[in-house]
Symmetry: C2
Subunit: 324 residues, 2 copies
């Protein structure tokens, strides 16, 4: 394999000149540049990209740390993030960090060790010390990390209000909401606030169950079945997300409940995939494209050392199917 | 920020010794190792990982290039690949390469430039020159690249046979199969062979439609609607994948066709997500965990320069719902 000195020799320039051509640094005549390029082509020279990264102190890598790409919402967010970052010259490292704070800490170490230029995080782990470093090039999606790191999220309060008002308009009074544990610092907690505010405003009694997103599907199904069994008179459910809503559809059918006649049901997320697979589900659509575009824009600002806001809230909309 | 020489000074050793501790190279007494680690801790020293990679000539990065993580099959495959590779000390770079041969070529350049230690590819692009380099640390999933690069796939012929036999057993005679374009070098083409063999063995006329996986959903829906309209007497459909099957369920409902009474339907892939969202769909389950485990094992063998087989074929099974 050809080396840098072979290129220098053939082009009749110094090794420093070849290095400057490779790194686009310093003044060089077009003639010199052309001669070096011609020598590289002739020798089929491959620059040592790792050495160039070392020199430039940047890797053009962005880490994305989300609970799991196998979830339709995070899968579509990852696709859109990667598509946009690739156009900007970045490649994307992913980590599926569900239930694994040590993995999240590991990715942060990577950032601190300059193995990636920036991080986009959306995991649910807590108490990770490394986030205390200020002004890191980090953007959070759907999660509040701390006051320093900007959060990009859809308007969860508006989504919670849309869903609850829809269930009430359709005639439900006994309405249950399912959300994640209140201890988690996730923006989805605002759906619960909105649900409880709307219920109270209508003189209805809110009842929120906490079911952790990160638990195994069989355990989740059991928990949802227990909720249905404990409330045979429930008239509406505002679920945490669309996959939970799909589980509730099955469980309702097993109990002989017809949807929407006996039970109204609304999901959350409204991904393209779920709207394709379960078009009958009424759900709140999170704007995946806008979330990804905003996260990338804000991350670029962080990398450039520009000021950013604490939060970026994006609009949601209701997708009306037949379940509510 | 502390430098390597600061660590050397405080530990009262040479810079070379600190470097050997960092890279686990050469003979070192435990006393020296401990003294260097203590100095690193005291100075909060962060090793330059990029420089270490340059020294070791490896990045501990693996590239994964699949059509899109937003597809449930590729999303679950990516999750399982990343989980296994992370346990082996690798991090994962992803690229969603659908319809983009230049992006695929770009990732291959990365491999050739030693920016990644290996690649797992499952894209549908063709004619990429870089694959002609022999013995590259590449593994293909579901796709035949060339005779040199090993392919990991489920038993598509057995899957095609299972699906077609099921439709015939349930009483269908006019059965349509939908598959990708025959020009694509994908292992899914073997489902078509199996379908046509089983139909012929039962003295039934096979009819395969080619619908490209990579086209936009609206265009795909239109094409599938045209197929249904052209064959009002069709009794069974063996679809390319589960999301196409879900589209066909909607289109059938729009035409007033009841499933399974008027039309039997079988999908393909059988991901956890689709079985959760559309449990009524009869489908062929590809063994995602086994595919990922095999791809990782074979990639390790390629990286180590060990011989590998041309193909690794993994068993499928039928998931019986109510649609067929």
């Amino acid at each position: 394999m050809a080396k840098l000195e072979d290129v220098a020799k053939l082009a009749n320039v110094s090794k420093t000149t070849v290095s400057r051509v490779l790194n686009h640094r310093g003044y060089l005549s077009q003639k010199t540049i052309d001669r070096v390029h011609a020598a590289m082509r002739e020798l089929n020279y491959r620059p040592n990209v790792i050495a160039q990264q070392l020199y430039k102190n940047q890797t053009n890598l962005i880490g994305i740390l989300l609970p799991t790409v196998a979830n339709p919402f995070f899968g579509e967010v990852t696709l859109e993030l990667e598509r946009r970052l690739y156009q900007l010259g970045y490649k994307v490292l992913i980590g599926n960090s569900m239930n694994d704070p040590s993995k999240e800490a590991d990715y942060l170490e990577q950032l601190l060790n300059k193995q990636v230029d920036g991080l986009i995080v959306g995991t649910h782990n807590q108490g990770i010390q490394e986030y205390q470093n200020l002004n890191l090039p980090i953007v959070s999606i759907d999660r509040i990390v701390n006051g320093d790191i900007p959060t990009v999220a859809s308007d969860n309060y508006a989504g919670g209000r849309l869903a609850t008002e829809r269930l009430i308009e359709r005639g439900a009074q006994k309405i249950i909401h399912i959300n994640g544990p209140q201890s988690l610092p996730i923006t989805a907690a605002r759906r619960r606030e909105a649900y409880e505010d709307v219920m109270n405003a209508h003189h209805l009694t809110p009842l929120t169950y906490e079911v952790d997103f990160n638990i195994a599907e069989t355990v989740k199904k059991q928990k949802l079945a227990q909720i249905l069994a404990a409330h045979p008179d429930v008239e509406g459910i505002f679920a945490s997300n669309d996959t939970d809503a799909a589980l509730l559809m099955q469980l309702a059918a097993e109990r002989g409940l017809r949807i929407p006649e006996d039970l109204l049901l609304i999901g959350y997320d409204g991904t393209k995939l779920v709207r394709e697979l379960v078009p009958q589900l009424t759900t709140v659509i999170q704007p995946v494209d806008q979330i990804a575009a905003t996260a990338v824009k804000v991350l670029q600002e962080r990398i450039a050392g520009q000021p950013t806001k604490a939060e970026y809230i994006l609009p949601v909309q209701l997708s009306v199917g037949t379940t509510a």
